[in-house]
Subunit: 250 residues, 2 copies
Protein backbone atom coordinates (compact mmCIF):
# COMPACT_ATOMS: atom_id res chain seq x y z
CA UNK A 1 0.00 0.00 0.00
CA UNK A 2 1.22 3.49 -0.77
CA UNK A 3 1.55 5.51 2.41
CA UNK A 4 1.37 8.97 0.89
CA UNK A 5 -2.01 8.29 -0.74
CA UNK A 6 -4.41 10.97 0.51
CA UNK A 7 -7.07 8.42 1.46
CA UNK A 8 -4.69 6.68 3.86
CA UNK A 9 -3.61 9.91 5.46
CA UNK A 10 -7.14 10.76 6.48
CA UNK A 11 -7.92 7.24 7.71
CA UNK A 12 -6.62 7.72 11.27
CA UNK A 13 -9.04 10.62 11.71
CA UNK A 14 -12.14 9.66 13.69
CA UNK A 15 -15.49 9.64 11.87
CA UNK A 16 -16.59 12.70 13.84
CA UNK A 17 -13.45 14.58 12.91
CA UNK A 18 -13.87 13.58 9.29
CA UNK A 19 -17.52 14.64 9.42
CA UNK A 20 -16.55 18.04 10.78
CA UNK A 21 -13.77 18.35 8.28
CA UNK A 22 -16.12 17.64 5.35
CA UNK A 23 -18.81 19.82 6.81
CA UNK A 24 -16.55 22.85 7.27
CA UNK A 25 -15.13 22.36 3.80
CA UNK A 26 -18.70 22.23 2.52
CA UNK A 27 -19.60 25.42 4.40
CA UNK A 28 -16.59 27.08 2.82
CA UNK A 29 -17.77 25.99 -0.61
CA UNK A 30 -21.22 27.41 0.06
CA UNK A 31 -19.72 30.67 1.31
CA UNK A 32 -17.51 30.81 -1.75
CA UNK A 33 -20.39 30.35 -4.18
CA UNK A 34 -22.47 32.87 -2.25
CA UNK A 35 -19.70 35.45 -2.50
CA UNK A 36 -19.42 34.76 -6.23
CA UNK A 37 -23.14 35.53 -6.59
CA UNK A 38 -22.55 38.81 -4.77
CA UNK A 39 -19.64 39.62 -7.08
CA UNK A 40 -21.86 38.86 -10.08
CA UNK A 41 -24.60 41.04 -8.55
CA UNK A 42 -22.11 43.88 -8.10
CA UNK A 43 -21.00 43.64 -11.71
CA UNK A 44 -24.58 43.52 -12.99
CA UNK A 45 -25.57 46.55 -10.90
CA UNK A 46 -22.57 48.45 -12.30
CA UNK A 47 -23.61 47.40 -15.82
CA UNK A 48 -27.07 48.91 -15.35
CA UNK A 49 -25.55 52.11 -13.91
CA UNK A 50 -23.06 52.42 -16.78
CA UNK A 51 -25.72 51.66 -19.39
CA UNK A 52 -27.91 54.40 -17.96
CA UNK A 53 -25.01 56.85 -17.85
CA UNK A 54 -24.03 56.02 -21.43
CA UNK A 55 -27.63 56.84 -22.41
CA UNK A 56 -28.01 60.10 -20.53
CA UNK A 57 -24.56 61.43 -21.47
CA UNK A 58 -24.60 60.03 -25.05
CA UNK A 59 -21.31 58.27 -24.28
CA UNK A 60 -20.81 55.66 -27.03
CA UNK A 61 -17.49 54.51 -25.55
CA UNK A 62 -19.08 53.64 -22.22
CA UNK A 63 -21.94 51.93 -24.07
CA UNK A 64 -19.42 49.76 -25.93
CA UNK A 65 -17.80 48.82 -22.64
CA UNK A 66 -21.16 47.69 -21.23
CA UNK A 67 -21.83 45.59 -24.33
CA UNK A 68 -18.40 44.00 -24.04
CA UNK A 69 -18.74 43.38 -20.29
CA UNK A 70 -21.90 41.34 -20.80
CA UNK A 71 -19.65 38.42 -21.77
CA UNK A 72 -18.20 38.53 -18.26
CA UNK A 73 -21.71 38.44 -16.77
CA UNK A 74 -22.60 35.43 -18.90
CA UNK A 75 -19.49 33.48 -18.03
CA UNK A 76 -20.02 34.19 -14.33
CA UNK A 77 -23.51 32.73 -14.62
CA UNK A 78 -22.27 29.56 -16.33
CA UNK A 79 -19.43 29.10 -13.79
CA UNK A 80 -21.69 29.55 -10.74
CA UNK A 81 -24.29 27.26 -12.30
CA UNK A 82 -21.68 24.55 -12.76
CA UNK A 83 -20.48 24.97 -9.19
CA UNK A 84 -24.08 24.60 -7.93
CA UNK A 85 -24.52 21.37 -9.95
CA UNK A 86 -21.26 20.09 -8.52
CA UNK A 87 -22.36 20.87 -4.96
CA UNK A 88 -25.74 19.20 -5.51
CA UNK A 89 -24.10 16.08 -6.93
CA UNK A 90 -21.24 15.69 -4.46
CA UNK A 91 -22.46 17.31 -1.24
CA UNK A 92 -26.13 16.37 -1.43
CA UNK A 93 -27.16 19.37 0.67
CA UNK A 94 -30.35 19.27 2.75
CA UNK A 95 -32.78 21.78 4.27
CA UNK A 96 -31.36 25.34 4.41
CA UNK A 97 -28.24 24.46 2.44
CA UNK A 98 -30.37 22.97 -0.34
CA UNK A 99 -32.59 26.05 -0.37
CA UNK A 100 -29.46 28.21 -0.64
CA UNK A 101 -28.23 26.30 -3.70
CA UNK A 102 -31.67 26.37 -5.37
CA UNK A 103 -32.02 30.09 -4.63
CA UNK A 104 -28.61 30.74 -6.13
CA UNK A 105 -29.48 28.83 -9.32
CA UNK A 106 -32.59 31.00 -9.70
CA UNK A 107 -30.93 34.26 -8.63
CA UNK A 108 -28.14 34.05 -11.20
CA UNK A 109 -30.69 33.46 -13.98
CA UNK A 110 -32.35 36.75 -13.05
CA UNK A 111 -28.98 38.49 -12.69
CA UNK A 112 -27.96 37.31 -16.14
CA UNK A 113 -31.20 38.67 -17.60
CA UNK A 114 -30.67 42.00 -15.85
CA UNK A 115 -27.29 41.98 -17.60
CA UNK A 116 -29.10 41.46 -20.91
CA UNK A 117 -31.34 44.46 -20.20
CA UNK A 118 -28.26 46.59 -19.44
CA UNK A 119 -26.77 45.52 -22.75
CA UNK A 120 -30.04 46.37 -24.51
CA UNK A 121 -29.97 49.90 -23.02
CA UNK A 122 -26.31 50.31 -24.01
CA UNK A 123 -27.13 49.39 -27.62
CA UNK A 124 -29.87 52.03 -27.69
CA UNK A 125 -27.46 54.51 -26.10
CA UNK A 126 -24.90 53.88 -28.81
CA UNK A 127 -27.53 54.34 -31.49
CA UNK A 128 -28.89 57.54 -29.97
CA UNK A 129 -25.43 58.98 -29.26
CA UNK A 130 -24.76 59.49 -32.96
CA UNK A 131 -27.56 62.08 -33.35
CA UNK A 132 -27.36 65.81 -32.56
CA UNK A 133 -29.46 65.92 -29.44
CA UNK A 134 -31.02 63.42 -27.05
CA UNK A 135 -34.71 62.66 -27.64
CA UNK A 136 -37.44 63.77 -25.24
CA UNK A 137 -37.90 61.46 -22.28
CA UNK A 138 -34.25 60.66 -21.55
CA UNK A 139 -34.26 62.69 -18.31
CA UNK A 140 -37.33 60.74 -17.17
CA UNK A 141 -35.65 57.44 -18.06
CA UNK A 142 -32.73 58.50 -15.87
CA UNK A 143 -35.13 58.98 -12.98
CA UNK A 144 -36.77 55.58 -13.58
CA UNK A 145 -33.33 54.00 -13.84
CA UNK A 146 -32.30 55.36 -10.45
CA UNK A 147 -35.37 53.78 -8.88
CA UNK A 148 -34.73 50.43 -10.59
CA UNK A 149 -31.06 50.46 -9.52
CA UNK A 150 -32.14 51.28 -5.97
CA UNK A 151 -34.49 48.27 -6.02
CA UNK A 152 -31.74 46.00 -7.37
CA UNK A 153 -29.26 47.27 -4.81
CA UNK A 154 -31.74 46.56 -2.00
CA UNK A 155 -32.39 43.04 -3.33
CA UNK A 156 -28.67 42.24 -3.46
CA UNK A 157 -28.18 43.71 0.00
CA UNK A 158 -30.85 41.37 1.44
CA UNK A 159 -29.23 38.44 -0.30
CA UNK A 160 -25.89 39.40 1.29
CA UNK A 161 -27.41 39.69 4.77
CA UNK A 162 -30.04 36.94 4.32
CA UNK A 163 -32.64 39.29 5.75
CA UNK A 164 -36.24 38.32 4.91
CA UNK A 165 -37.89 41.44 6.36
CA UNK A 166 -35.70 43.77 4.32
CA UNK A 167 -36.33 41.53 1.32
CA UNK A 168 -40.03 42.20 1.65
CA UNK A 169 -39.33 45.94 1.73
CA UNK A 170 -37.05 45.56 -1.30
CA UNK A 171 -39.75 43.66 -3.23
CA UNK A 172 -42.22 46.46 -2.48
CA UNK A 173 -39.93 48.95 -4.23
CA UNK A 174 -41.06 47.42 -7.53
CA UNK A 175 -44.47 49.06 -7.10
CA UNK A 176 -42.81 52.50 -7.32
CA UNK A 177 -40.73 51.44 -10.33
CA UNK A 178 -43.87 50.26 -12.13
CA UNK A 179 -45.71 53.52 -11.35
CA UNK A 180 -42.80 55.60 -12.60
CA UNK A 181 -42.66 53.47 -15.74
CA UNK A 182 -46.39 53.88 -16.47
CA UNK A 183 -46.15 57.64 -16.13
CA UNK A 184 -43.09 57.74 -18.41
CA UNK A 185 -44.92 55.76 -21.09
CA UNK A 186 -47.85 58.19 -20.97
CA UNK A 187 -45.45 61.10 -21.41
CA UNK A 188 -43.73 59.42 -24.35
CA UNK A 189 -47.10 58.90 -26.05
CA UNK A 190 -47.73 62.62 -25.74
CA UNK A 191 -44.32 63.43 -27.24
CA UNK A 192 -45.01 61.15 -30.20
CA UNK A 193 -48.48 62.54 -30.86
CA UNK A 194 -47.22 66.12 -30.70
CA UNK A 195 -44.30 65.49 -33.01
CA UNK A 196 -44.79 62.44 -35.26
CA UNK A 197 -41.30 62.87 -36.73
CA UNK A 198 -39.93 61.98 -33.28
CA UNK A 199 -41.74 58.61 -33.16
CA UNK A 200 -38.71 56.47 -33.93
CA UNK A 201 -36.42 58.17 -31.44
CA UNK A 202 -38.96 58.41 -28.63
CA UNK A 203 -39.68 54.72 -29.18
CA UNK A 204 -36.01 53.95 -28.52
CA UNK A 205 -36.35 55.80 -25.23
CA UNK A 206 -39.43 53.71 -24.45
CA UNK A 207 -37.51 50.48 -25.06
CA UNK A 208 -34.95 51.67 -22.52
CA UNK A 209 -37.75 52.37 -20.06
CA UNK A 210 -39.16 48.90 -20.69
CA UNK A 211 -35.72 47.38 -20.04
CA UNK A 212 -35.49 49.23 -16.72
CA UNK A 213 -38.97 48.11 -15.74
CA UNK A 214 -37.78 44.53 -16.38
CA UNK A 215 -34.70 45.14 -14.22
CA UNK A 216 -37.16 45.95 -11.44
CA UNK A 217 -39.13 42.73 -12.07
CA UNK A 218 -35.97 40.62 -11.91
CA UNK A 219 -34.84 42.42 -8.74
CA UNK A 220 -38.23 41.64 -7.20
CA UNK A 221 -37.73 37.96 -8.07
CA UNK A 222 -34.36 38.02 -6.28
CA UNK A 223 -35.94 39.53 -3.13
CA UNK A 224 -38.60 36.81 -3.22
CA UNK A 225 -35.93 34.08 -3.44
CA UNK A 226 -34.29 35.57 -0.31
CA UNK A 227 -37.59 35.19 1.58
CA UNK A 228 -37.89 31.58 0.33
CA UNK A 229 -34.30 30.93 1.32
CA UNK A 230 -34.58 32.37 4.83
CA UNK A 231 -38.14 31.40 5.69
CA UNK A 232 -38.58 28.30 3.54
CA UNK A 233 -41.71 29.86 2.05
CA UNK A 234 -42.43 30.22 -1.63
CA UNK A 235 -44.11 33.60 -1.78
CA UNK A 236 -44.28 34.10 -5.53
CA UNK A 237 -47.76 34.82 -6.83
CA UNK A 238 -48.91 35.98 -3.38
CA UNK A 239 -49.64 39.66 -2.74
CA UNK A 240 -46.88 41.37 -0.76
CA UNK A 241 -49.39 42.44 1.89
CA UNK A 242 -50.32 38.80 2.52
CA UNK A 243 -46.64 37.93 2.74
CA UNK A 244 -46.06 40.71 5.30
CA UNK A 245 -48.93 39.34 7.39
CA UNK A 246 -47.53 35.81 7.21
CA UNK A 247 -44.02 36.92 8.18
CA UNK A 248 -45.23 39.04 11.09
CA UNK A 249 -47.46 36.22 12.35
CA UNK A 250 -44.50 33.93 12.96
CA UNK B 1 -41.50 -5.10 18.07
CA UNK B 2 -44.58 -4.43 15.96
CA UNK B 3 -44.75 -6.81 13.04
CA UNK B 4 -46.97 -4.75 10.75
CA UNK B 5 -44.57 -1.81 10.82
CA UNK B 6 -43.68 -1.05 7.22
CA UNK B 7 -39.94 -0.93 7.96
CA UNK B 8 -40.03 -4.52 9.22
CA UNK B 9 -41.95 -5.73 6.25
CA UNK B 10 -39.24 -4.57 3.86
CA UNK B 11 -36.42 -5.93 6.00
CA UNK B 12 -36.42 -9.48 4.55
CA UNK B 13 -35.84 -8.02 1.10
CA UNK B 14 -32.23 -8.27 -0.04
CA UNK B 15 -30.25 -5.06 -0.41
CA UNK B 16 -30.24 -5.48 -4.19
CA UNK B 17 -34.00 -5.90 -4.26
CA UNK B 18 -34.41 -2.88 -1.99
CA UNK B 19 -32.07 -0.88 -4.18
CA UNK B 20 -34.09 -1.76 -7.27
CA UNK B 21 -37.32 -1.05 -5.46
CA UNK B 22 -36.16 2.44 -4.42
CA UNK B 23 -34.65 3.06 -7.81
CA UNK B 24 -37.82 2.17 -9.76
CA UNK B 25 -39.90 4.26 -7.35
CA UNK B 26 -37.46 7.11 -7.96
CA UNK B 27 -37.73 6.65 -11.73
CA UNK B 28 -41.51 6.81 -11.40
CA UNK B 29 -41.20 10.06 -9.45
CA UNK B 30 -38.96 11.54 -12.14
CA UNK B 31 -41.37 10.40 -14.86
CA UNK B 32 -44.26 11.89 -12.92
CA UNK B 33 -42.59 15.29 -12.52
CA UNK B 34 -41.56 15.25 -16.18
CA UNK B 35 -45.15 14.60 -17.28
CA UNK B 36 -46.31 17.43 -15.03
CA UNK B 37 -43.88 19.76 -16.82
CA UNK B 38 -45.38 18.64 -20.12
CA UNK B 39 -48.89 19.28 -18.82
CA UNK B 40 -47.79 22.74 -17.71
CA UNK B 41 -46.21 23.30 -21.12
CA UNK B 42 -49.46 22.25 -22.83
CA UNK B 43 -51.47 24.67 -20.73
CA UNK B 44 -49.03 27.53 -21.34
CA UNK B 45 -49.06 26.91 -25.11
CA UNK B 46 -52.86 26.97 -25.06
CA UNK B 47 -52.73 30.21 -23.07
CA UNK B 48 -50.61 31.88 -25.76
CA UNK B 49 -52.93 30.58 -28.50
CA UNK B 50 -56.04 31.79 -26.68
CA UNK B 51 -54.48 35.15 -25.88
CA UNK B 52 -53.63 35.62 -29.54
CA UNK B 53 -57.12 34.58 -30.64
CA UNK B 54 -58.73 36.92 -28.11
CA UNK B 55 -56.64 39.72 -29.64
CA UNK B 56 -57.34 39.01 -33.30
CA UNK B 57 -61.08 38.34 -32.79
CA UNK B 58 -61.58 41.06 -30.15
CA UNK B 59 -63.01 38.41 -27.84
CA UNK B 60 -63.06 39.91 -24.32
CA UNK B 61 -64.56 36.78 -22.81
CA UNK B 62 -61.71 34.60 -24.04
CA UNK B 63 -59.23 37.23 -22.83
CA UNK B 64 -60.79 37.08 -19.35
CA UNK B 65 -60.43 33.31 -19.37
CA UNK B 66 -56.71 33.59 -20.19
CA UNK B 67 -56.21 36.09 -17.38
CA UNK B 68 -58.01 33.78 -14.94
CA UNK B 69 -56.13 30.68 -16.12
CA UNK B 70 -52.78 32.26 -15.30
CA UNK B 71 -53.43 31.36 -11.67
CA UNK B 72 -53.39 27.69 -12.72
CA UNK B 73 -50.06 28.19 -14.50
CA UNK B 74 -48.58 29.80 -11.39
CA UNK B 75 -49.76 27.08 -9.04
CA UNK B 76 -48.40 24.40 -11.37
CA UNK B 77 -44.99 26.10 -11.24
CA UNK B 78 -44.98 26.25 -7.44
CA UNK B 79 -46.08 22.59 -7.13
CA UNK B 80 -43.46 21.27 -9.57
CA UNK B 81 -40.80 23.42 -7.93
CA UNK B 82 -41.65 21.91 -4.53
CA UNK B 83 -41.57 18.41 -5.97
CA UNK B 84 -38.09 19.09 -7.43
CA UNK B 85 -36.82 20.32 -4.05
CA UNK B 86 -38.25 17.21 -2.41
CA UNK B 87 -36.54 14.96 -4.96
CA UNK B 88 -33.21 16.77 -4.52
CA UNK B 89 -33.44 16.48 -0.73
CA UNK B 90 -34.64 12.88 -0.45
CA UNK B 91 -33.35 11.14 -3.58
CA UNK B 92 -30.06 12.95 -4.00
CA UNK B 93 -30.02 12.35 -7.75
CA UNK B 94 -26.73 12.21 -9.65
CA UNK B 95 -25.55 12.68 -13.26
CA UNK B 96 -28.41 12.58 -15.79
CA UNK B 97 -31.12 12.48 -13.11
CA UNK B 98 -29.66 15.57 -11.46
CA UNK B 99 -29.47 17.36 -14.80
CA UNK B 100 -33.11 16.46 -15.40
CA UNK B 101 -34.19 18.00 -12.09
CA UNK B 102 -32.10 21.15 -12.65
CA UNK B 103 -33.45 21.48 -16.20
CA UNK B 104 -37.00 21.16 -14.91
CA UNK B 105 -36.46 23.87 -12.29
CA UNK B 106 -35.23 26.19 -15.03
CA UNK B 107 -37.82 25.16 -17.63
CA UNK B 108 -40.80 25.86 -15.40
CA UNK B 109 -39.47 29.35 -14.64
CA UNK B 110 -39.49 30.08 -18.37
CA UNK B 111 -42.91 28.45 -18.80
CA UNK B 112 -44.33 30.57 -16.01
CA UNK B 113 -42.95 33.72 -17.67
CA UNK B 114 -44.47 32.68 -21.01
CA UNK B 115 -47.73 32.43 -19.08
CA UNK B 116 -47.20 36.02 -17.89
CA UNK B 117 -46.69 37.17 -21.48
CA UNK B 118 -49.94 35.43 -22.51
CA UNK B 119 -51.73 37.24 -19.70
CA UNK B 120 -50.20 40.53 -20.83
CA UNK B 121 -51.51 39.97 -24.38
CA UNK B 122 -54.95 39.05 -23.03
CA UNK B 123 -55.10 42.29 -21.04
CA UNK B 124 -54.28 44.28 -24.18
CA UNK B 125 -56.89 42.26 -26.08
CA UNK B 126 -59.54 43.11 -23.52
CA UNK B 127 -58.63 46.79 -23.69
CA UNK B 128 -58.64 46.84 -27.50
CA UNK B 129 -61.87 44.80 -27.79
CA UNK B 130 -63.95 47.69 -26.45
CA UNK B 131 -63.18 49.95 -29.43
CA UNK B 132 -64.94 49.95 -32.81
CA UNK B 133 -62.23 48.44 -34.96
CA UNK B 134 -58.90 46.69 -34.41
CA UNK B 135 -55.82 48.88 -34.81
CA UNK B 136 -53.39 48.47 -37.69
CA UNK B 137 -50.82 45.76 -37.15
CA UNK B 138 -53.04 43.14 -35.52
CA UNK B 139 -52.92 40.84 -38.57
CA UNK B 140 -49.12 41.04 -38.50
CA UNK B 141 -49.10 40.24 -34.77
CA UNK B 142 -51.17 37.15 -35.55
CA UNK B 143 -48.51 36.04 -38.00
CA UNK B 144 -45.71 36.66 -35.48
CA UNK B 145 -47.73 34.82 -32.84
CA UNK B 146 -48.03 31.75 -35.03
CA UNK B 147 -44.26 31.65 -35.44
CA UNK B 148 -43.68 32.07 -31.69
CA UNK B 149 -46.21 29.32 -30.88
CA UNK B 150 -44.53 27.05 -33.43
CA UNK B 151 -41.18 27.67 -31.71
CA UNK B 152 -42.66 26.95 -28.27
CA UNK B 153 -44.37 23.80 -29.55
CA UNK B 154 -41.08 22.55 -31.01
CA UNK B 155 -39.25 23.25 -27.72
CA UNK B 156 -41.83 21.33 -25.69
CA UNK B 157 -41.73 18.49 -28.19
CA UNK B 158 -37.95 18.14 -27.77
CA UNK B 159 -38.35 18.17 -24.04
CA UNK B 160 -40.90 15.35 -24.31
CA UNK B 161 -38.65 13.27 -26.56
CA UNK B 162 -35.34 14.39 -24.98
CA UNK B 163 -33.98 15.00 -28.45
CA UNK B 164 -30.94 17.30 -28.56
CA UNK B 165 -30.71 17.57 -32.36
CA UNK B 166 -34.33 18.67 -32.69
CA UNK B 167 -33.74 21.04 -29.77
CA UNK B 168 -31.04 22.76 -31.79
CA UNK B 169 -33.47 23.12 -34.70
CA UNK B 170 -36.13 24.44 -32.30
CA UNK B 171 -33.71 27.01 -30.87
CA UNK B 172 -32.91 28.20 -34.39
CA UNK B 173 -36.58 29.05 -34.94
CA UNK B 174 -36.07 32.05 -32.68
CA UNK B 175 -34.07 33.76 -35.42
CA UNK B 176 -37.20 33.83 -37.61
CA UNK B 177 -39.35 35.08 -34.75
CA UNK B 178 -36.91 37.93 -34.11
CA UNK B 179 -36.82 38.88 -37.80
CA UNK B 180 -40.62 38.90 -38.02
CA UNK B 181 -40.74 41.01 -34.87
CA UNK B 182 -38.27 43.59 -36.20
CA UNK B 183 -40.23 43.96 -39.42
CA UNK B 184 -43.48 44.35 -37.49
CA UNK B 185 -41.99 47.11 -35.34
CA UNK B 186 -40.85 48.99 -38.46
CA UNK B 187 -44.38 48.76 -39.86
CA UNK B 188 -45.92 50.01 -36.62
CA UNK B 189 -43.58 53.01 -36.66
CA UNK B 190 -44.86 53.86 -40.14
CA UNK B 191 -48.48 53.56 -38.97
CA UNK B 192 -47.82 55.92 -36.07
CA UNK B 193 -46.00 58.50 -38.18
CA UNK B 194 -48.75 58.47 -40.80
CA UNK B 195 -51.56 58.82 -38.28
CA UNK B 196 -50.40 60.31 -34.96
CA UNK B 197 -53.90 59.88 -33.49
CA UNK B 198 -53.35 56.11 -33.69
CA UNK B 199 -50.15 56.22 -31.57
CA UNK B 200 -51.75 54.89 -28.37
CA UNK B 201 -53.53 51.99 -30.06
CA UNK B 202 -50.66 50.96 -32.32
CA UNK B 203 -48.42 51.03 -29.25
CA UNK B 204 -50.71 48.47 -27.60
CA UNK B 205 -50.22 46.27 -30.65
CA UNK B 206 -46.47 46.72 -30.30
CA UNK B 207 -46.56 45.61 -26.66
CA UNK B 208 -48.30 42.42 -27.82
CA UNK B 209 -45.58 41.91 -30.42
CA UNK B 210 -42.93 42.45 -27.73
CA UNK B 211 -44.66 39.85 -25.54
CA UNK B 212 -44.60 37.33 -28.40
CA UNK B 213 -40.96 38.03 -29.08
CA UNK B 214 -40.30 37.23 -25.40
CA UNK B 215 -42.29 34.00 -25.74
CA UNK B 216 -39.78 33.06 -28.44
CA UNK B 217 -36.83 33.93 -26.16
CA UNK B 218 -38.20 31.76 -23.35
CA UNK B 219 -38.89 28.90 -25.81
CA UNK B 220 -35.28 29.15 -26.97
CA UNK B 221 -34.12 28.87 -23.34
CA UNK B 222 -36.18 25.68 -22.97
CA UNK B 223 -34.60 24.17 -26.10
CA UNK B 224 -31.17 25.00 -24.72
CA UNK B 225 -31.97 23.27 -21.42
CA UNK B 226 -32.91 20.14 -23.39
CA UNK B 227 -29.46 20.14 -25.01
CA UNK B 228 -27.83 20.60 -21.59
CA UNK B 229 -30.00 17.81 -20.20
CA UNK B 230 -29.27 15.32 -22.97
CA UNK B 231 -25.67 16.19 -23.76
CA UNK B 232 -24.52 17.56 -20.43
CA UNK B 233 -23.35 20.71 -22.19
CA UNK B 234 -24.25 24.23 -21.21
CA UNK B 235 -24.69 25.91 -24.57
CA UNK B 236 -26.12 29.22 -23.48
CA UNK B 237 -24.19 32.23 -24.75
CA UNK B 238 -22.67 30.16 -27.57
CA UNK B 239 -23.70 30.74 -31.18
CA UNK B 240 -26.07 28.05 -32.48
CA UNK B 241 -23.70 27.33 -35.37
CA UNK B 242 -20.91 26.50 -32.91
CA UNK B 243 -23.30 24.27 -30.98
CA UNK B 244 -24.26 22.42 -34.17
CA UNK B 245 -20.59 21.84 -34.90
CA UNK B 246 -19.97 20.54 -31.38
CA UNK B 247 -22.97 18.20 -31.50
CA UNK B 248 -22.07 16.81 -34.92
CA UNK B 249 -18.44 16.28 -33.85
CA UNK B 250 -19.42 13.77 -31.16
Amino acid sequence: MVSDDFRFQVLPMSVTQLGKHISSEFQEELEDVRSRVLAMGGLVEQQVKDALESLTTANAELADQVILNDIRVNSMEVAIDEECSRILALRQPAAGDLRLVISIIKTITDLERIGDEAERIARMARKLSSSDHLPSGVAEVDHLGEKAIDELNAALDCFARLDADSALEAARKDIKVDREYESLIRQCITFMMEDPRSVRRVLDVMWCAKALERVGDHAQNISEYVIYLVKGKDIRHISLDDVAEQLSGE
